[in-house]
Assembly symmetry: C2
Homo-oligomer: 348 residues x 2
DNA sequence: TTGAAAGCGCTACCAC
DNA sequence: GTGGTAGCGCTTTCAA
């Protein structure tokens, strides 16, 4: 029979060409069983000649891995998440996995749909960078023994695999940096996410240690579905800055929010950092793009991506049986948006 | 037999529960054949009761679609691509498709590897946003009748499905905008990509119409693998601006490059746009983040994503047999980085 | 060291 | 209308 160029070539073709059974071919593909060097060589040659590539779906049907991981992420257009996805994909590629990436927009229904769909597609596991404020679905997965690792979002009192930074510490560092510069009256802008609440908690804790207290007028926790961070950052900043006892510094819980804060402040005639200090969070690429370059709390995005995939693979391979949690440390990246507070600077 | 909570439930379980054959179940799943309402209802109920979800891989083995598309993209961390990926995913989701996203870094070997791998995984088609300066692999796919659509990258003399903007026109618009403002001496910064070369061609064409000519000292085409656009933008800008006959405006072929240009110019003491006009390309979110907000040539990213998936699906479904190419139009988004050139402004 | 054969979960053709 | 059955391409006993 003529093997046309379009014919999909299967294990049978290889077997025929190498004059062995498909069982033998399968064994050399998977390096299992005992095959003599001679046959092995012959089979390999046949595979090469025919440009044979095993159909992964068929083998998955037999219980093998699909070598595909589902990544649920709130919003790829958000630099933090796209950079994280990038890193996870990089490491996945190194380890032989592909990523199905899904945007959830913090929408529970979408999360459900994707989880279910990717399950049907037999992904080997899920990386969840999504909101999942609701633990039910995650528990369901775990009960069904599907590998799950949560990233950038910790569930302190729940037994899941997770990699995240110490958000509390991040907030703590931010506050201390600002206080060291002499700021006492600080405004904060956050989102209604666990991680952001932790950052605030750390922030407040640091304040507390110095006998300071956050002015509730200068605390804003925006709705999770307000997607335009820049706008929100601007609005809040305007509100804060127009008050008589306006803050001398702002802690924004992500870089985008900080960008908005800076834009608005400048537009209102404030000089940054002379009249107002701003500190962000995440250290995404936009921190270096805005002017002045943003002082921010860095999440080690690359390491996070790496750790996530490594953890995932160790779970899949079964070498990690108990749940484990890796916590990375945030760090202060000083750039140009924070400066020592001087009394005179408050009246510009 | 006790159906444990972990048992994977199959079409057989449904058949048993509904007291029909698996053939019948299959028919109600796929809405094929003739099934009486009574049985249909019974089967559906059984599926619901058992929380049955068909194994997509198994049906794919039988020649059905995997409902998964491979997306090859140079770099998810680049805002243009992450925003595009976001839009493609959105539309894919609406149409019932998932996306396997792969970063290629314009690396031919990675492109090959991914193409081959995703092929094994039986994706229904490929969206290529990657470099693919080399057409061979694409031709190979097409010959094998695998649906392919190219995005943000046109192959004018080659018959492929593609959606892209008119890059020539984009460059043309940019040049005209600058010339209308009185600029005659303009520097350009581009990458060594087809799209960028087209933009330059359009740019030069416009110049030509006005009897102007690009000073070759102020033209730079950076290597495709130089990944740090900001840095490159800065370096070139410094070089240009330190010349005696320095340009009064810069056309950067993407927003990141423009961001670098602006940073450097400001650092050298130039006021933007008073002493130097800068125009970018893409209109990514960073255009609104930098200061001053960047005037740029917008690519309609959302429409592009939509068109790409729509085209892909129409190819898969077989309703589009001939190749087709959709060209979207770029548009000028005026913000704050371009301004009329005044003679005095050249000596600040 | 090799191969025959029994599936994996599903679809589709052909009988009844 | 419904069901039996032959695969899809692969892995994995179990015999030879």
């Amino acid at each position: 029979m003529e093997k046309g160029w379009k014919m999909k070539i299967t294990i049978y073709d290889v077997a025929e060409a190498a004059n062995v059974s498909i069982a033998t071919v399968s064994k050399v593909i998977n390096n299992t069983g005992n095959i003599s060097d001679k046959t092995r060589k012959r089979v390999k040659q046949a595979m090469k000649d025919l440009e044979y590539h095993p159909n992964i779906l068929a083998s998955a049907l037999m219980g093998k891995q699909t070598k595909t991981i589902g990544l649920l992420i709130p919003d790829l257009a958000n630099p933090f998440f796209s950079e994280l996805a990038r890193r996870i994909e990089d490491r996945g590629h190194e380890l032989g996995y592909n990523l199905v990436i899904c945007n959830t927009d913090y929408d529970g229904d979408k999360e459900d749909k994707y989880l279910q769909l990717l399950n049907q597609k037999m992904v080997d596991g899920f990386v969840l960078a999504s909101g999942f404020e609701d633990l039910e679905k995650v528990e369901e997965l775990i009960k069904r023994e599907i590998p799950v690792v949560i990233v950038a979002r910790d569930f302190p009192m729940f037994s899941v695999n997770a990699v995240a930074i110490d958000d509390f510490m991040g907030g703590y560092i931010a506050a201390n940096h600002l206080m060291e510069l002499g700021h006492k009256n600080i405004g904060v802008i956050a989102r209604d996410l666990w991680s952001n609440r932790e950052r605030l908690r750390g922030f407040n804790h640091a304040l507390d240690e110095h006998g300071l207290k956050l002015n509730k007028n200068f605390e804003y926790i925006m709705d999770i579905h307000d997607i335009d961070h820049i706008y929100e950052g601007r609005e809040m900043t305007k509100k804060y800055l127009l008050e008589d006892d306006r803050p001398t510094a702002i802690f924004a819980c992500n870089d985008l929010l900080a960008a908005g804060a800076i834009q608005e402040a400048k537009e209102l005639g404030f000089k940054i950092p002379e009249n107002l200090s701003v500190i962000g969070f995440d250290n995404t690429s936009i921190a270096t793009v805005i002017d002045p370059p943003l002082t921010t709390i860095a999440q080690p995005i690359e390491s996070m991506g790496r750790e996530v995939m490594d953890l995932m693979v160790s779970i899949i391979s079964g070498e990690k049986k108990e749940k484990s949690r890796v916590t990375l440390l945030p760090s202060l990246v000083k750039r140009k948006t924070t400066k020592a507070f001087e009394v005179t600077s408050n009246t510009y």
